[in-house]
Subunit: 244 residues, 2 copies
DNA sequence: TCAATGCAAGTGTGATCACAAATCAAATAA
DNA sequence: TTATTTGATTTGTGATCACACTTGCATTGA
């Protein structure tokens, strides 16, 4: 044996590291991605390279590359000052995002409805139970877990659509709407009960029946909810701000 | 006056440089983008950072950031070797790309058909004439100009859809299908006459009549053409390769 | 008191260096 | 001849530095 490092000719070592070793850059990128989809950054928040580099325990190099990538995905915004921030929420942008999500995620779920295997359907059915578990201990509203579970449910379906082109686009859309969604979910939690499980149940039922149109409609209802809620909230604020 | 450089308080200088100064990184990124959409790189071609840096007369730094951005857009592909290449053409990927383009560009043109101003319609009408000009000197097939003109025509329409979310997605799709399209156009030129102008005329007619459905159908026919052509060519090659 | 000036800290950008991994070619062994 | 190995070159990655620009605050002037 020549080296102690992974050797592709060694089947065991190849299994331990079958793909290219993860780079710091990718780690940082995925970390920021997760934070954005989860809404951990607030809209209009400014991010600095050195600040993130310190927080992520690395140098500025991987961070600036990750930021550049997120800017091209419109997940972040490059200001003329050359500083970068989380895009602010506007009514126009929300409508725009929702329309695109209905169009593309609707298509993806319609495709998935005709292609999901019984095994995959069982998987998303089992996810419904987790919502019930969470409701059982509703005294503690765990927004993080809600976001994670919701994301896992949707992407389990989208992955089944079998399109290597649509899925990254959906990820980009979630990246862009992440900050808005988080704001909406917080507002939801204040306003009343979270009935996401009901919508997801409808989706699963349609998929199990291979009802593409029904699945699309149920999905549209599901993803529209936080947007319409947030929209009415923003309109109320705008009216109040205008009257003052 | 303190400095010889641009000063925002000086209205004249501000007009000369109204937005943020262009960075080398952006220049490189736009350059590579243009090359990809225009199909100047071949499918499966490997790109190296230092090679591009030399070609673009800059250091490796702006190039690696630009490559990273193009990889996140799926315009380029990161191999496990950590090298990057133009994604190869496969039948599945082509069908996937075409479906996504029909979905999203179809929606964009339907929106644009109801929103384009007479002035904008005049602009795309005038573009039709350029095809006739080009046909007049058809002895010299100028693929570059065909690609540029086609792109200008389509994006003049898409810009009118008024969606800041859909347009970048369409750009991403063009970026991904650029290499395929170029191959198809070359095959077209060999096969016979280019009748792009006819399809564009149909599109303009539908838009002028504010016929959203007609515009969408005409667009679908237009963008499907190179894909179906290339598909039959690839299938023929695959069959030949299989028999050998 | 208030506006303008000037300085200092912070920030993004591009270049360069060090290092590890991959690639390729020549040389060696079977 | 063919397969393996060894060494040199190339390549991507991460860190660091230098520079220009921005920002914020204190100082200065009227």
């Amino acid at each position: 044996m020549q080296k102690a490092t992974a050797d592709k000719s060694d089947p065991i070592a190849a299994q331990l590291a079958p793909v290219g070793r993860e780079t710091v850059q990718d780690r940082v990128y995925l970390e920021l991605r997760r934070a954005l989809i989860g809404g951990l950054f607030e809209p209009s928040q400014v991010l600095t390279i050195r600040g993130l580099a310190d927080a992520l325990m690395t140098s500025t190099m991987p961070v600036r590359e990750a930021l550049g990538r997120l800017i091209t995905e419109k997940a972040l915004e490059a200001l003329p000052n050359r500083s970068v921030r989380v895009p602010p929420i506007t009514l126009e942008r929300m409508d725009d995002l929702l329309r695109a999500r209905i169009l593309i995620e609707g298509e993806a779920i319609a495709l998935a409805a005709t292609r999901m295997t019984p095994r995959q359907i069982t998987t998303i059915e089992s996810m419904l139970g987790e919502w019930d578990e969470m409701r059982a201990l509703k005294h503690k509203k765990d927004v993080d877990r809600e976001v994670t579970l919701n994301q896992a449910f949707h992407f389990e379906i989208y992955r089944a659509c079998g399109s290597a082109v649509l899925i990254p686009m959906i990820e980009s859309l979630w990246l862009q709407s992440g900050p808005c969604i988080r704001v909406a979910i917080y507002a939801f939690s204040d306003a009343g009960e979270v009935d996401t499980a009901h919508y997801h149940r409808t989706i699963v039922k349609a998929i199990a029946a291979q009802d593409a149109k029904g699945a699309r409609d149920a999905l549209i209802a599901d993803i529209s909810r936080p947007f319409t809620f947030l929209r009415s909230k923003l309109e109320a604020e705008a009216k109040k701000g205008q009257s003052v």
